[in-house]
């Protein structure tokens, strides 16, 4: 069965591109425009095998979302990748402390993104 | 073989000149048989009333609503200087595409689709035909029939269809 990826980003363009890349690679994609929406999608029954989230978002930012996801028993061990523009370590550390698995640095090309995903997603 | 034929048609379509064997839709105006390259024909429909366009030459019959598109209708008899006749149940509109514009031609009746070889097409004679020969690509021979092959590009883009003309005094 195709793996499901929850893509969270407030920029529709970025969301579409990530989703397009993932669908092209055979993944199923669930999209959310911010952390709150993402939590809603999960509570609404979405069972992602991987979460890819932006950090800077309205309503609920990425760090808070990661913390929320880690609180959910079903998603306790689910890989979470952060999308970040910064190579800055602060953001990465904050994300990891919150429970993020890893990061993808923007700008990335589809191959780069898929490489990171293959790193963390079994299968 | 079939592919070759198709390629020829493609070529004809692009150049608008019959270079090789082609299919022609033939129709009647009075006693004479005329032909248009079948690739130019979009559809054939029965005659329905048109809306006259103000201040246009007599051969521009009017416009028609063809599934939401406004299509001008040309009366070929008038265009060729032939006397007009009462429309009958055979009167049809041949809808053609000329340089991306859609137009309708009112003709007396449609006849067959004929295959005419390139070698059977001769230049139009300078006299004899009722039609201004500059509108013809040539005269085609199919069996015992003679068909005047129309040059659609010249026929329907000779000024009155495209540019805004001055109001006749």
């Amino acid at each position: 069965m195709a793996k499901t990826v929850l893509v969270v980003d407030d920029s529709p363009t970025m969301r579409q591109m990530v989703a397009f890349t993932l669908t092209s690679a055979g993944y199923q994609v669930v999209e959310a425009g911010n952390g709150k929406e993402a939590v809603g999608k999960v509570n609404g029954g979405a069972k992602p095998d991987l979460v890819v989230t932006d950090l800077n978002m309205p309503e609920m930012d990425g760090i808070t979302l990661i913390k929320e996801i880690r609180k959910m028993p079903a998603l306790k061990f689910t890989p979470i990748l952060m999308l970040t523009t910064e190579a800055s370590d602060d953001k990465k550390k904050a994300g990891q402390a919150a429970g993020a698995t890893g990061w993808i640095v923007k700008p990335f090309n589809p191959e780069q993104m898929m490489a990171v995903i293959k790193k963390v997603l079994p299968g | 073989m079939a592919e070759q034929e198709f390629a020829n048609k493609e070529l004809n379509h692009q150049t608008g000149i019959s270079t090789d064997g082609s299919q022609f839709l033939t129709f009647q105006l009075g006693e004479e048989l005329y032909g248009v390259d079948i690739l130019r024909v979009q559809e054939i429909k029965g005659y329905t009333a048109v809306t006259r366009i103000p201040n246009t030459p007599a051969h521009i019959k009017g416009v028609l609503n063809l599934r939401g598109t406004i299509v001008p209708i040309v009366e070929l008899r008038t265009k060729f200087g032939m006397p007009t006749i009462e429309y009958t149940m055979f009167t049809v509109i041949v809808v053609v595409v000329v340089k991306e514009k859609i137009m309708g031609l009112v003709v007396d009746a449609v006849s067959d689709v004929l295959d005419i070889d390139k070698k059977d097409i001769q230049p139009a004679p300078q006299f004899g035909a009722q039609v201004d020969v500059s509108f013809l690509n040539g005269i085609g021979k199919a069996g015992d029939k003679l068909v005047a092959l129309l040059d659609m590009d010249r026929l329907l883009t000779d000024g009155d269809m495209t540019e805004s003309e001055k109001i006749a005094a």
Partner: protein
């Protein structure tokens, strides 16, 4: 795998426009509320998204510049810097620059590098500390460029205990390592396992030691542990293996020249010389007379055509609320049901079922009308998009003109057709500039007149009937009747003897070349513009009117159709023919009395409508139709107005009023003088929409010929 993301570019540009607007609006509000963190966050996010997205498409100029803006914004929101007028000015200027950069990215034009660099420098300078270099757009290291050779790595790894809590799986790491080469040895280290009682199944206690043979170098191996390096105990020992000859070749053979230089057969200079003598394939072929120079240049042309991708036309897109689409889909569903009920009824119809039939047809009508309205609604967007540029404009204008101006916007949610919105931006801008420059007085003059120092410009939009009204109102000095009159006479627009109503005088300011500004300013007063405003609005099928009170202010009212695709029309009949007259151009319709008519040789017929003689035009004359009525006192006269000119057009009868969808005549035919377009009438036939301006032209030419 190569996934092409370039077709998301349009989406990027569209989205960027929204972020730019958000940033601009935010910056303007920031001046009023400098401490508003939410606002700063919003602005920051806008810039952040542009930065991230532009990098994805390789628009490095955009992402680098935005990065600099973002750094300033970040310092502002973390209170490391304070919002000052100077900083907002700089950010607004940078925003303009960013807009240009994005435009350049879209069109492929070259940006003004010096300007970008200068602004970038100022953005960096204002932060006190220089921005930490290029934080963005770090291309991934290209491992193929590293020296080849086989390594045998000994890797010892004890992951952090919390490994699972971060969604990591040790097996993934081992798999990834295995994918890089051959694992020749693998040993598990279970030494950290506690006694069972103390064991937490969600912690990772294991460690591994493995040997990996690979052509990749240390950097690549190390990168495997990117996400866990911090808390892992990790050692990677590199034991280089003697270079296997095939391994080196497999990583890319070197050019012959390079090897010759390395082995000392030739020197680098000699090699360069030899290379410079190397001829192009084309030249060689020409020399060998295999091909002519023409053939070569032809082929080269073809080659360049292949490599330069055809410039894709920009397809305009529109964002539609999914709610709107869902409703439309529901409606289409209803339509389908109605249709199937009707065909069912039709297949076995009896006269007794007539009432049912009529009811179904009525239902069909309702469905159709609603679908039409909803489909038109898709093109409708709030006018707020067009208003959003004005806060910035007014801010700039008040600075330049030395006036204090408050801008009040209302009715931003009023919806109208996207094309109309796109076309009214410029006319509105001109009217606002005009109000700021000519309408509002300088502060001292206002104080002397007993008004508050700060002038007000009000922009409002509202629906009125089938039209939308947009007003631009100022509380300035009002139009000066005498000045305009004097100017009009001086410019030869009117004669001194002309008796003009106030309204006619106000309309003079829309005449080409008319400007009463005493000094030409940067803002307006060049005598161009107001006439363009009027022409543009009329081009959209709208009207402009002026209301003014001396000392109190001026209001310009633009009245526009909601959409350009559908107009409200009056259907009229002349003999057998039906025509549609745009309702907006109809002032009134009358049946004249004999004594109102007058015929003047060489000027044609005139009709006296309440003291004004208007030219009378018989539509059947102009269009050469056969009328039913040729006596004006029995027929109907429509009084039409266009661009301030009036004419009485005679028709047989008024049939009714209806909305018509405008269809192009030019698509398959050509422009017809006096006809604005065609439409499909209720019975499926074609009707023509009159073009009043064109009618006037025909009648003028006609009379000229008759004279």
């Amino acid at each position: 795998m190569s996934t092409d993301l370039s077709h998301f570019k349009d989406a990027f540009f569209e989205e960027s426009q929204e972020h730019l607007t958000t940033i601009e609006e935010g910056l303007l509000q920031l001046e009023q509320r400098p401490g508003d963190i939410d606002l700063l966050n919003r602005i920051f996010r806008g810039a952040h998204s542009i930065k991230g997205n532009s990098g994805m498409f390789g628009f490095t100029a955009v992402s680098q510049f935005t990065h600099k803006m973002e750094s300033v914004l970040d310092q502002l929101r973390s209170s490391q810097m304070v919002v000052t007028v100077a900083i907002t000015d700089l950010l607004l200027q940078s925003l303009d620059c960013l807009k240009t950069l994005i435009d350049c990215a879209r069109t492929g034009a070259a940006p003004d590098e010096a300007h970008v660099a200068a602004l970038g420098g100022r953005l960096e300078a204002c932060q006190g500390t220089p921005a930490p270099g290029q934080a963005t757009a770090v291309p991934a290291a290209d491992e193929r460029s590293l020296p080849p050779g086989t390594h045998r790595f000994t890797i010892t790894w004890a992951p952090p205990r919390y490994l699972f809590q971060r969604g990591l799986d040790p097996a993934q790491f081992l798999k990834e390592l295995a994918s890089l080469g051959t694992v020749t040895h693998l040993a598990l280290d279970a030494g950290r396992l506690p006694v069972l009682m103390e064991l937490d199944p969600e912690q990772c206690y294991l460690g591994w030691t493995l040997e990996l043979e690979t052509g990749k170098d240390l950097k690549v191996i190390d990168a495997v542990f990117d996400f866990v390096r911090e808390d892992s105990t990790l050692t990677i020992v590199d034991n280089p293996v003697e270079t296997h000859p095939t391994a080196a070749v497999s990583d890319g053979a070197k050019p012959l020249g390079e090897i010759l230089v390395e082995t000392g057969v030739v020197s680098q200079t000699q090699l360069n010389q030899a290379l410079s003598q190397q001829k192009k394939v084309g030249e060689i072929l020409v020399e060998q007379k295999v091909a002519t120079p023409e053939q070569i240049s032809e082929a080269l042309k073809k080659q360049s055509e292949c490599t330069v991708p055809a410039k894709k036309a920009e397809t305009p897109s529109i964002r539609v609320d999914t709610v709107k689409i869902d409703r439309l889909i529901n409606l289409v569903g209803e339509l389908v049901i109605t249709q199937s009920m009707l065909s069912d009824l039709g297949s076995r119809f009896e006269m007794s079922q007539l009432p049912v039939l009529l009811e179904r047809v009525a239902q069909l009508e309702r469905n159709t009308r609603e679908i039409q309205e909803r489909v038109m609604g898709i093109r409708m967007v709030p006018i707020g998009n067009a208003f959003s540029r004005f806060p910035r404009l007014v801010r700039d204008l008040s600075g330049k003109a030395g006036k204090k101006i408050q801008l009040i916007l209302s009715g931003e949610e009023t919806e109208l057709d996207k094309t109309v919105i796109e076309s009214i931006g410029d006319p509105l801008t001109h009217l606002v500039r005009n109000s700021a420059d000519h309408g509002l007085e300088p502060p001292d003059e206002r104080l002397a007149a007993g008004k508050p120092e700060q002038g007000i410009i009000r922009l409002n939009a509202f629906h009125e009937g089938g039209s939308i009204c947009i007003t631009v109102e100022d509380d300035g000095r009002g139009l000066n009747r005498d000045k305009i009159l004097a100017k009009g006479i001086k410019q030869g627009l009117i004669a001194e003897s002309d008796k003009l109503s106030d309204e006619q005088i106000w309309m003079l300011i829309f005449k080409p070349g008319f400007s009463t500004a005493e000094k030409v300013t940067d803002v307006s007063g060049r005598g161009v513009g107001m006439d363009v405003v009027k022409r543009n609005i009329e081009g959209l099928g709208g009207t402009v009117s002026i209301k003014t009170v001396t000392g109190k202010g001026t209001t310009f009212t633009l009245k526009l159709p909601l959409t350009l695709a559908i107009i409200e029309g009056m259907t009229v009949r002349v003999g057998q023919d039906t025509y549609i007259v745009p309702l907006l151009s109809i002032l009134e319709s009358i049946q004249p009395k004999r004594e109102m008519l007058k015929s003047i040789v060489g000027k044609g017929e005139l009709v006296n409508v309440r003291g004004t003689y208007l030219p009378l035009m018989r539509l059947y004359d102009v269009f050469r139709l056969e009328p039913e009525l040729s006596d004006p006192t029995k027929a109907i006269l429509l009084i039409l107005e266009t661009e301030g000119e009036r004419v009485a057009v005679m028709v047989d009868e008024i049939l009714g009023q209806q909305q018509v969808v405008i269809k192009s005549m030019e698509q398959n035919f050509r422009k017809i003088e006096g006809v604005a377009g065609a439409t499909i009438l209720g019975d499926g036939t074609v009707g023509f929409i009159l073009d009043v301006r064109g009618l006037l032209n025909i009648s003028r030419n006609g009379t000229a010929q008759a004279a």
